[in-house]
Symmetry: C2
Subunit: 442 residues, 2 copies
């Protein structure tokens, strides 16, 4: 993963280490947009905090982040309603950031601000991770080069080559799970006035139960639209007629804004992409290698936490390097602490798909949200709603999940207690009446 | 996996196909016992049925299987009790078979009875599974050879090389999970009279809650003892004194039978082996490749079903080849049908460790077993206890699991109904008494 690898290089360079980055792909600053990857990323508290620690947070957010202060729901009947992340504070928001800009920004910072040497077009073809040795093939000349390092950080994404070397080491647990749903990206251009055609400071959602569409704002005033749906349902939309009929039924308001021709062209330009979740444990191999970011914990994109979790990995690793002298202890602690949280956010991301595409429009969900907001206002340190704690705090992901569990329990028991109290009062009334009647009878 | 690959070759050859077997290792018929693999295997109904279909079942069982008609529990206080698999029928049993003999038997049958060509010392180094192409390296000469086939069957065990080629194909789900426990194998020799030193026709178990020891009989009248324990606990037993103290505390009756010197030598001869469970889905790639046996579903050994499930794969594949003309349909159906059952037995195997090492000695378990046996006797077609259905029938593993679930429910509801009835009778009594008292009062 470009972003996480760069940030980690900055952290290590800042600590005074000699760092080199090896990348399989070409320098993205010189190449065009790569198809098949999402166009924008969501940056929230954890990511920003990790960037700030190396002096990159404010610059990035202020110059290139578009704030999103809540969800804006598009209902089937054409009505809309906003669900702010925090009704009291407008500044509580996540940021939509262009992937291309973010990559360029981080590559420049790594290379220029932190004097890290970047090697592009280097494909890792072999490694002895215990010894810290790697063999790369240069994609241009086909030449092979060998490199060794005291510490190898594998930040090479969901299909990590570094991680593949972990697979046969004893006690390495691993799982990759594809979900039944895939996605297609579309573009909604700016209006004729060059401005956004929808309210810009929101994540727009068209929740439709078994599928959903979302929109995130771009710097150029366009929107990146993503349609998430079961792959089988994509197969049904096999011609422009069926596609347009489907869009008119489900997302009527979006059709004129995207434009019919563009909708058809974009939709059929690529096959739907798949979505997968990767968990593994431990994240280190001997005291020479560690994997971070998507290489360690790839997740479905529904919490917008993939990159943020990766950035948080860098911060944790830095904290542990600061705390312990022995690299073996650092890596062991990193695996132990991070795995619990990373697996929690993988699960939360899976859950959030259900919330976004279905629950978000249910009365029980909206009522619970009101209760959460009220309690959050009354007990701001104790009752932090799940989304708030994940996106706007740096509380461990596992702790966020546990908090939600006890909050659910408190609500369940309160309702039960109220129910029992009501029944008891009722029973007492009947008993009293019964005694009165009996006394009258005899 | 030697056994499953051979049996599948027999099945395919019997159908009239030209079959070749490529094996990484040397011909086991020419080599000595390979350390690190368990010495004996458990053969039960599914395995026997699959062997019988190619005419190999009876010969193997009658000549080289040692029947085990139940569990024999060794308690901490030195007492013992037997738990027969089926108290009514002595012939309901599983068979302990020597791995070496089984391999030789199957290799001979494959080569001589079914005229299959066997290639040893061939390491799969590359493959294009969509095209049915494979490249092997000959381990002796280092020469490489290319082979192509209409159908590639990967029966190459838990660390399958064939399966590694599935990993990057979209929608391939995979998980490997190591448990915290490992094992060490020991040997209990025959007595001075050359006979078994314990009752031969049982699986002996020393259940100790968080760990356990088991013993399986061998043809030469010795016993293969396996100690399963958390790996951290193995680390504590780091010298002969600690080991002997531990054995005297936990498995006192076994110490003189194994012999102190042999116990110490065997225990410290190898590091504890790890145990893992592998699940994946689908089992086929395009219409050219399928994985079976441990390559598709490796499980922890506690149900003794690993090989039996692999043999059952061969039988199912054969049935599907008989049913459908189109190989694409055969493989798709194989994945769909087999995955459900294979994942069920992986989970059941994990559960059975708990039963063997802990539950087996609890009163609630023994009582439940009595209830199960009684109901099985009364309703032999309806109420089949879990162990019976897994080991002594060919009912789908998933169905076995589902049966256990509804049996649990029936028992739970019956107990609840009895409880409610009791309470109601009690309440009626109190009410009656209360009315009497009231009537007397007024």
């Amino acid at each position: 993963m470009f972003q996480v690898g760069c940030l980690c290089a900055c952290y290590l360079a800042k600590r005074g280490h000699e760092v080199e980055v090896y990348e399989y792909r070409d320098d993205i600053r010189k190449s065009e947009f790569v198809r098949g990857r999402t166009i924008n990323l969501s940056l929230s508290a954890r990511g920003i905090q990790a960037l700030k620690a190396v002096g990159l947070g404010d610059k990035l957010v202020s110059s290139h982040g578009i704030p999103m202060k809540g969800r804006l729901i598009h209902n089937l009947d054409g009505s809309r309603h906003a669900i702010p992340y925090d009704p009291r504070h407008d500044q509580v928001c996540t940021y939509s950031v262009s992937r291309k800009y973010l990559n360029e920004f981080l590559l420049n910072a790594t290379e220029k601000d932190f004097n890290v040497k970047l090697h592009f077009n280097h494909k890792l073809i072999n490694a002895n991770l215990q010894e810290g040795c790697m063999t790369f093939q240069l994609m241009v000349t086909n030449e092979t080069v060998m490199r060794s390092a005291d510490l190898i950080v594998g930040a090479d994404g969901a299909f990590s080559t570094v991680r593949r070397h972990f697979m046969k080491s004893p006690m390495f647990n691993f799982s990759q799970t594809y979900i039944e749903h895939g996605y297609v990206e579309l573009c909604m251009p700016p209006g004729e006035d060059g401005e956004f055609v929808m309210e810009p400071n929101y994540l727009h959602i068209w929740p439709r139960g078994t599928f959903m569409m979302i929109a995130m704002p771009n710097q150029d005033r366009s929107w990146t639209i993503t349609l998430f749906m079961p792959l089988t349902q994509f197969q049904v939309l096999d011609c422009p007629t069926r596609l347009l009929k489907f869009f008119k039924q489900q997302f009527l308001d979006s059709v004129p804004l995207i434009g019919k021709r563009r909708l058809v062209t974009d939709f059929f330009a690529t096959k739907p992409s798949t979505l997968l979740s990767i968990k593994c444990n431990p994240y280190h191999l001997s005291s020479r290698t560690v994997i971070i970011g998507d290489a360690a914990h790839a997740m479905v994109p529904f919490y917008g936490q993939g990159m943020n979790a990766g950035f948080e990995d860098c911060r944790l690793l830095d904290q542990l390097l600061h705390r312990y002298e022995d690299i073996a202890v650092v890596l062991k602690e990193f695996s132990a602490i991070r795995n619990t949280d990373a697996e929690a956010i993988c699960d939360l991301a899976m859950y959030n798909y259900l919330e976004m595409r279905d629950l978000v429009n249910r009365r029980s969900f909206l009522l619970r949200r009101k209760v959460d907001n009220l309690l959050f206002r009354l007990l701001p340190k104790i009752w932090i709603p799940l989304y708030t704690s994940v996106a706007f705090t740096t509380v461990g992901y596992r702790q966020c999940m546990d908090n939600k569990c006890w909050q659910d329990k408190v609500i369940r028991w309160t309702l039960l207690a109220l129910g029992v109290l009501g029944t008891a009062l009722c029973a007492a009334g009947i008993y009293h009446w019964h005694r009165m009647t009996l006394t009258e009878k005899f």
